[in-house]
């Protein structure tokens, strides 16, 4: 127990990333507000980034940093388009509840 508490190794960072990914997944699955779902996706991307940076440090290779940088850029693009979709949906129907967006289901 004390070993886990005081000897922080690479496993700790990987477990932190896994827990963060889990919380992001929970946000996507449980919440019904489209904005919170987008935030959950951002959390999942960040968890993937932590894993990349951890392995990059482990192997002494900066390729992981480059990839994490590209992931951040993709996340920014995804956030802007996602928020634009949220604004467009809100303009049409005055709420952003994903449970009520069932027009395409039939």
């Amino acid at each position: 127990m004390a070993d886990i508490l005081f000897n922080v190794g690479y496993g700790h960072f990987l477990v932190l990333a896994a827990v963060l990914f889990l919380i992001g997944t929970a946000a996507v699955l449980v919440r019904r507000n489209a904005l919170i779902i987008l935030m959950g996706v951002e959390l999942m991307l960040n968890a993937a980034n932590i894993t990349l940076v951890t392995f990059s440090r482990m192997w002494g290779d900066v390729g992981g940093h480059t990839f994490a940088l590209i992931v951040i850029a993709v996340a920014a693009a995804e956030a802007s388009v996602g928020l634009a979709i949220v604004v467009a949906v809100f303009r049409g129907r005055r709420n952003v509840d994903v449970d009520k967006l069932t027009t395409l289901r039939h």
Partner: protein, 252 residues
């Protein structure tokens, strides 16, 4: 909530006490054996900066910092899931991003840490808060209603899976155990691991195609975001149509 804060404070002060009690300057001095250090790169770093380059990211001080920032990251993420108020959720998100930036710093990813703070905590969250302010809707119920039995069963299954995953991840071994936690500058990779220079060299070398693709992607995203969010001219009739569709969907 108060209980959780109390427990966290107790754990952190215990960790601080242990770290302070066991602190000796000699523990940092023998971080990397002299024989392990490449002489040429050592000379290079001495030439560049006069201070000693023997700090490694291990020991009780780092453990304390890790648990502090991990608690910040996880707590902020939990705020996103549990809070009904959207502004509170986004503030928790910002705290989570700042914790992640500190975690990057701990992993010697200096440049990425700054980018995380600038792009995520700065730009993306400002965008989110703008949209929250525009929409200005009170929040709905956070948890979708399901049966109590299903919740317990699903929770137990998720806890089991995550526990097994964590046990597996904790056993991950670095490729070279001898210098696993040494400062990355202490070997032949050079002393600029994770700085703007090394990341830029790799980005414009190995990742050049990805970089160019990202520039096109960002351009498409900007144009697409403007095209999607632009107000429609027949807004009123469109809204009426949606209402009619909702009524029809509810009848099914």
């Amino acid at each position: 909530m108060r209980i959780v804060i109390l427990i966290m404070t107790a754990v952190l002060s215990f960790g601080a006490f242990v770290a302070a009690a066991s602190f000796t300057p000699a523990a940092y001095a023998d971080a990397i054996p002299e024989s392990k250090i490449d002489a040429a790169s050592r000379a290079k770093v001495q030439e560049r900066s006069p201070h000693d380059d023997l700090i490694q990211s291990s020991g009780k001080g780092m453990a304390l910092m890790f648990w502090l920032f991990a608690a910040m990251t996880i707590g902020g993420a939990l705020f996103v899931v549990t809070r009904r108020n959207l502004i509170t959720a986004s503030m928790g998100m910002i705290g989570s991003f700042l914790g992640i930036a500190a975690i990057y710093m701990m992993l010697y990813a200096h440049f990425l840490s700054i980018v995380q703070m600038l792009v995520y905590a700065g730009a993306i969250m400002v965008l989110f808060i703008f949209v929250i302010m525009i929409l200005n809707r009170p929040e709905d119920e956070p948890v979708a209603p399901t049966g109590r039995f299903g919740q317990v069963l699903g929770g137990a299954a998720i806890l089991y899976l995550v526990g097994r995953l964590c046990m597996m991840l904790m056993k991950v071994q670095p490729p070279d155990a001898a210098k696993a936690f040494a400062a990355p500058g202490a070997d032949a990779f050079g002393h600029d691991f994770g700085t703007v220079g090394s990341v830029g060299t790799d980005l414009f070398g190995n990742g050049l195609f990805a970089f160019e693709a990202i520039s096109i992607l960002l351009l498409i995203a900007v144009v697409g975001a403007i095209a999607i969010a632009r107000p429609l001219h027949e807004e009123q009739s469109d809204e009426d149509k949606q209402k009619a569709a909702d009524a029809k969907g509810g009848a099914h």
